[in-house]
């Protein structure tokens, strides 16, 4: 749970083989995009590139059997909820693209903010407030080249990177939650209430100002 996104990224770079309890086929490069939605769901895109020999092995094991790949990922990466799994491969360029959606993405923090773990070896390259770019070489996957792009929701506030370069490096952010219908009702009701009170007061004032006097005007002086 705690390192859900992190583990999936790592796992894709180290996809376990079903012929061995631990043998892995390592991708030459892994480019990941995590698009976080306001409801905490996440759209994930992984682009893997292989050298010739690992590409052959990877295809034999899972690349030619997307159902097995998805089944393995669902079973193996249990802290994730994998939906809308799509898989494309390009034999000419020895690349594979996996896209999926998970309703559960960032972790909830006790301070009501959200957290996305980022591997310590992944260094921040740039950020534009809502979009953060990282890059690094994964020591657990033969130092393969990794890039990571994280797109935060539009209503993100206070995004910052904590523990930069450390194993517990993470992107932390808050969301400005739009006012709900009830709050709209309260505020508009309050405004109308105030307006009504002003109108009523004006009506009352207007009534006082135009009422005929009960005292007759004094006769003109002789």
């Amino acid at each position: 749970m705690k390192t859900r996104l992190l583990l999936l990224t790592l796992a894709l770079g180290l996809l376990p083989s079903w012929r061995s309890a631990v043998a892995q086929v390592t991708a030459k490069a892994l480019d990941s995009i995590q698009e976080i939605n306001p409801d905490g769901s996440v759209n994930l895109t992984f682009q893997l590139a292989f050298d010739a020999e690992p590409w052959g092995r990877w295809k034999t094991q899972v690349g030619d059997d997307p159902a097995r790949l998805r089944g393995m990922m669902r079973h193996q990466f249990a802290a994730y909820v994998i939906d809308d799994f799509k898989f494309e491969k390009d034999d000419l360029n020895r690349t594979a693209k996996i896209t999926m959606r998970s309703p559960a993405g960032p972790e909830l923090r006790r301070d009501r903010r959200f957290q996305i773990p980022v591997d310590g070896w992944c260094r921040l390259i740039n950020n534009t407030g809502h979009t953060w770019f990282f890059s690094g070489n994964n020591p657990a996957a033969g130092d393969n080249q990794n890039t990571l792009k994280i797109v935060l929701p539009a209503n993100t506030t206070d995004a910052s990177l904590i523990n930069a370069g450390m194993p517990d490096q993470a992107l932390v952010y808050a969301l400005s939650v739009p006012a709900g219908k009830s709050r709209l009702f309260v505020w508009s009701g309050a405004v109308i209430l105030l307006l009504g009170a002003v109108l009523l007061a004006a009506g009352m004032m207007s009534k006082k100002g135009t009422a005929p006097s009960a005292v007759p005007a004094p006769p003109p002086a002789a």
């Binding site: 631990v22 043998a23 249990a78 994730y80 009702f185």
Partner: protein
């Protein structure tokens, strides 16, 4: 005009009041609502792997007991969410994990990796237990509670299942054996029983086997010694015990597999038990191994990455060849023997047989490799071992070895036991213990430099193998003693790291660890025993880079330690 203003004002007041009231009553919004998917709860756990289930880092947390997916489908946050679990009779209610709120629309995934107590290793047969999850939360200030309960099966300590995949997901032989890695939990290189067994094997080779010095040739020699010892002690292969069982939606093969210590005592085993025993002994002697699972069978490949003998150049060994009847057909089928004979299978034939089997399986692709050391590093570790009467076991093992190859007797009782050939004996000044070490060792004790608690220190600077005897006065137990030594060494610039401890039958404790200093890293094993007035520490070790090579020599030295 005035009437219009008054009426308009009144309408405004009423409409505003209604809107404010509707807003406060949150009309038109979905209230907070916690929903969840059907809890996913594994139907059975192997108690032999209880440490694996407890470790959320093993294989990205896949060995969870339960997975729950919650979602707040409302438009307001679910607040004060907390979740905990228990397993009746084994784990009391855990401290709940708390979340201040689950925001509107959010999904929360919760995995449980149960911290079962070591007492589960005492379960001999499959036992039912009830797993319970309790969830507390608030919706719009109202408290809610939900409890999920499911019966699970805790398998007996010797029950090894081949798969934990639901039937609906299992497609082929690989899926049906997806739990093969758990076999590594039965590899116990540090069990005192395995230590004793290994020391008996090294004694057969002359008492001071130099491990795999010399690379592949020496590794082959070591494997030959192990095989010959098994043949000489009439270790037997006893066939396959395998049955299919269904629990809930998982149908799997279940094998009753004994730990190496049980095999050593009973002197018989299944193919998987023999492979596990081989892996245990090889690891104890500093040699790597991988178990190869094929349809209905398991064998091992011995290798040593540290010595430049990679897995692909490893030595396949047919462990069941110790019993002729088990392999007489394949020996002929694979043209290793021209016809069936009553001649026992030699080590060379066992290797040739396994090599041919391995070549066939590599061509077909139907095999699963289970690399022991890599999986141990990944978290597949052995459960706790109970104490055992080592003196009785020693006697049993001695009786098994025929007279013709019986090694020289160990030092007997008396003030100064006889010294084995090629060894020098050192005796504690008060006669509390003795230790024998190779005659080419030189004293490493430096008066005025060595700490005062070091009574004896000797070694071979060439091989870096050495042994020490330390007496720590005024401490009550081995932990205090090793902490004291670590403190003194730290002042001298050396860091002591204890990586494991195993109780021994004679009340001693076997410690494993490393000492790191500017001079390098030393790996060592140490027997710690409480004696009147303190604790005796008897260690033997070598530079970490040559541990694999010298491990057998180190074990041989420690096997000579005798306490009075």
């Amino acid at each position: 005009m005035q009437k219009l203003l008054t009426i308009g004002g009144a309408i405004g007041l009423i409409a505003g009041g209604v809107l404010v009231a509707a807003g406060l009553a949150r009309v038109g919004e979905r209230p907070a609502k916690l929903t969840w998917r059907d809890p996913e709860i594994k139907s059975a756990l192997m108690t032999l792997g209880y440490k694996v289930y407890a470790n959320s880092k093993v294989e990205f947390g896949r060995h969870y007991l339960s997975k729950l997916v919650f979602k707040n489908t409302g438009e307001h946050p679910v607040t004060d969410f907390s979740i905990g679990y228990k397993i009746d009779d084994y784990i009391p209610w855990t401290d709940p994990e708390n979340f201040h709120e689950i925001p509107a629309g959010f999904t929360l995934v919760k995995l449980f990796h149960p911290k079962l107590p070591p007492s589960v290793t005492k379960l001999r047969n499959a036992t039912n237990a009830t797993f319970r999850i309790r969830v507390l939360w608030k919706e719009e200030g109202r408290s809610h509670e939900e409890t999920f309960a499911r019966d699970i099966v805790l398998r007996g300590i010797n029950e090894l299942v081949s798969s934990d995949l639901p039937d609906t997901e299992s497609r082929d032989w690989f899926d049906a054996n997806n739990a093969a890695a758990f076999a590594v939990c039965m590899v116990t290189p540090n069990d005192p029983v395995v230590t004793l067994y290994a020391s008996e094997i090294t004694r057969l080779a002359g008492g001071t086997v130099a491990g795999v010095t010399g690379g592949a040739k020496e590794m082959v020699r070591l494997c030959r010694i192990i095989y010959d010892y098994m043949m000489a002690t009439e270790l037997r292969y006893t066939g396959v015990k395998f049955m299919m069982e269904s629990v809930d939606n998982v149908t799997t093969g279940v094998q009753t597999v004994r730990m190496p210590r049980d095999m050593i005592q009973n002197n018989e085993g299944l193919c998987i038990e023999l492979a596990i025993l081989w892996s245990s002994v090889l690891e104890h002697l500093g040699v790597d191994s991988t178990m190869i699972f094929v349809r209905g069978h398991v064998f091992v490949i011995a290798y040593s990455e540290a010595l430049g003998i990679p897995f692909k150049n490893g030595l396949p060994i047919e462990c069941t060849a110790i019993t002729l009847r088990a392999v007489e057909d394949p020996l002929v089928d694979l043209k290793i023997r021209a016809e069936k004979t009553d001649a026992p299978v030699t080590f060379d034939e066992a290797v040739e047989l396994a090599s041919k089997e391995w070549a066939i399986k590599q061509r077909s692709g139907e095999f699963i490799t289970v690399p022991v050391k890599a999986l141990q590093s990944a978290g597949y570790v052995a459960p706790e071992m109970a104490d055992i009467d080592m003196d009785k076991l020693t006697e049993t093992l001695r009786k098994r070895l025929p007279e013709m190859i019986k090694p020289e007797p160990r030092p007997g009782p008396g003030p100064v036991p006889p010294t084995p050939a090629g060894l020098t004996i050192w005796q504690h000044p008060q006669g509390l213990m003795t230790i024998s070490f190779p005659a080419d060792f030189v004293s490493l004790l430096q008066p005025g430099v060595s700490p005062g608690f070091v009574l004896f220190s000797a070694g071979n600077p060439g091989t870096t193998v050495g042994c020490d005897v330390m007496q720590i006065a005024g401490v009550q137990d081995p932990t205090q003693a090793i902490n004291y030594v670590a403190g003194v060494f730290a002042q001298m610039g050396a860091m002591i790291q204890v990586t494991g401890s195993t109780p021994m039958a004679n009340g001693a404790v076997m410690l494993n660890g490393m000492t790191n200093s500017a001079a390098g890293s030393m790996r060592w094993n140490c027997i710690a025993k409480t004696v009147p007035g303190g604790v005796l520490l008897v260690s033997a070790g070598a530079n970490a880079t040559v541990w694999g090579v010298q491990s057998a020599a180190i074990q041989a030295i420690l096997s000579t330690v005798r306490f009075k």
